[in-house]
Symmetry: none
Subunit: 218 residues, 4 copies
Amino acid sequence: MPTPSDPQPNVRPRGSGPETAEAILDAAEEAFATQGFDGTAMRDVAARVGIRAPSLYNHFPSKAALYSAVLERGVGPVLQMLLQFVETADETAWEAGDLLEATLTHLESHPHLPRLISHETLAGGQRLVPVLRDWVGPVFAAAEQLVERGPAAERWQAEQRPLLVLAMYHVIVGYFTMAPLYREVTGRDLLAASALQHQRELLRTFIRVLFEGPKDKD
Amino acid sequence: MPTPSDPQPNVRPRGSGPETAEAILDAAEEAFATQGFDGTAMRDVAARVGIRAPSLYNHFPSKAALYSAVLERGVGPVLQMLLQFVETADETAWEAGDLLEATLTHLESHPHLPRLISHETLAGGQRLVPVLRDWVGPVFAAAEQLVERGPAAERWQAEQRPLLVLAMYHVIVGYFTMAPLYREVTGRDLLAASALQHQRELLRTFIRVLFEGPKDKD
Amino acid sequence: MPTPSDPQPNVRPRGSGPETAEAILDAAEEAFATQGFDGTAMRDVAARVGIRAPSLYNHFPSKAALYSAVLERGVGPVLQMLLQFVETADETAWEAGDLLEATLTHLESHPHLPRLISHETLAGGQRLVPVLRDWVGPVFAAAEQLVERGPAAERWQAEQRPLLVLAMYHVIVGYFTMAPLYREVTGRDLLAASALQHQRELLRTFIRVLFEGPKDKD
Amino acid sequence: MPTPSDPQPNVRPRGSGPETAEAILDAAEEAFATQGFDGTAMRDVAARVGIRAPSLYNHFPSKAALYSAVLERGVGPVLQMLLQFVETADETAWEAGDLLEATLTHLESHPHLPRLISHETLAGGQRLVPVLRDWVGPVFAAAEQLVERGPAAERWQAEQRPLLVLAMYHVIVGYFTMAPLYREVTGRDLLAASALQHQRELLRTFIRVLFEGPKDKD
DNA sequence: GATGAATGAGGATTCATTCAT
DNA sequence: AATGAATGAATCCTCATTCAT
């Protein structure tokens, strides 16, 4: 039996224009998010799309380029959203809750994103993707400014404010990243609507408590 | 840069007893933490030790076994510490600060650990390592009990308490995991003593503010 | 001498259709027959075909699968021939000579077959290949029935008839299997037409003498 | 757990003199007979003895030498027996039955021998072992002379007599070689005493019928 | 745009063998 | 005499990528 495997799980019509590229990005996003860059074979991505590996090269020139494209498509909007929020937010209307809401909603509908970002974070930027390198800086700077201008400034030392931002980032992103393992170990699904609602409230409390002005007591 | 092609005639004495296995674990810990399982070649690990790849198999039967051993050696003590703390802690002496202090100190002296754990977390336990599977459950359960018995119980709903534990976990582990990328992007070193001190205080504040009883106001 | 290290830029056209698989089977048949499974390297097979080892995996998913395919292609027809003969033969036209003729002719034109089968026999079926496992049984059963229905039944005890079949099998297959060593030691070629003719007559005499009824007649 | 496997299945006393060499030969004989030369790892042999592979080199300088020693020890006596028989036998006392009896008895008590020889036969003498190369010639020549001097000479043409010898060889050796596979496929044990007795009688009949003079007498 | 076939570059692992203890 | 450790040489196999169809 010389035919090692039977592909074609998806009966896709031939010549599907740019939709194929989109399908590839979807498949790659899931693959990269689940297995990481090194753990993902081009053949895996192709199989998810229902084509053969060489066909991927009709749409993306290399595995690295595909990875970059996935990250750009997935992370870009989030970062843009964050940047825009920071620019428009002013002291009077300091409503971190809005940002939180928007972020959570976005992540909720793009469940692979946090894992993708976590993988890239772990790679230490050693790999590729100037996307993050170019955007992470401004976003963090903006986020710190945001904290600076908000009521938290009075409470936290200057050196602690970036750490506060980092902490919030980890609470938010880590929640989604942890979901699969958490489910496997505890049986509970962090991505379920009810769990997400609790996390939402938790985060709101965090923000209220941690970013509020100095407490009268202490 | 492990420089894989450089044999580096490390004149190590032939019969170096069990120290070689330890050296291999050290090298593997660093390699796995930095590059992940799939991104790490046995030859890389061997090169860091100063031996050739086949020699690794005199000490560990497979790459997976080596990975397991690394994880067991690295994660075991932390989990044990946590479990022990939970068992001995009682309400009267509820000093989460002690646990925090111990954890941070341990992670500080084992800088690869958090990245290692994060990699494994991302793998979703799909890979191997019953270590985590067997311990994560009890530890989380214990941590939740800890919260249960502490003053936080009055403030957070039952469904939120596990999320609170998760959040603290992410703030702590994420800090170390993020360090390399953070340094690359901002130039600042999160692992420096001063930064660590700030993070320590931040976490102490978190605990004080989030785990204290209900606030009289609001 | 397969000269494994010689790429031998056999200018074979790129897309050679299913002929490549056939060529691989040919090469593998010879290699496996001569050197056995363990003694055959995929690189050797590839070299005989004029390609590189990884290319083999475009046609067969593993060494074991290639081995299986070789055996199936080689042994299948023989067994089928035997089975068919047994089914169509009846007592009146009991002409074992026909079967003998057909078998010898087939083996003569597939000189690697007997060695291949011998290797597999030696492996005790421990390895793989349900081909043999599935066919050997029926074929032997059929052969015994053949003997049963023939005149030999009167002469040989029931317990000896399977051994008689075995004996004939060994005389036939062993002849071809022994050929290379015999040539090396004696200088004479058992596969030469004249030697084969003598063996043919020898076997015919065997059948006549051993399978005939009790000696009083004729 | 850096200790990959637990050896020492046999609690043998240290420093057991030349008995170790004998034990190694036993183990190697079984291993080589079952798995062939290429399929047998020195570690396998060592494990059967209850020692580690490097220790084998205290007794045999190489794998090839061990293989040679095994063959020499196993095959030597048979060949010697055959040669001696040929030299002492004369026409008047032409009792091939004696030779047959002796051979069968020897093979019966050395069940690995036939498979060992078959493996070597399949290797076509391409491998090593001048043992066979040096002995097979004389033995075959002697056997042919034996036939020459016996009553079979009148019945078989000169060119057929070597083939007759070969045939008998294959019937005898093949029987033992086939035993494991035969058992696996049919469930019956050719090495059982009863089966051996039947084969003995079968062979006696063969000799009587095939080696007797022209058919008119008896 | 899709693919079968091919391949160089690894990559994990095995193995025979050596050597110091 | 036995062995733990080490290693060069292979071996099977994977993978990203190319190219002709």
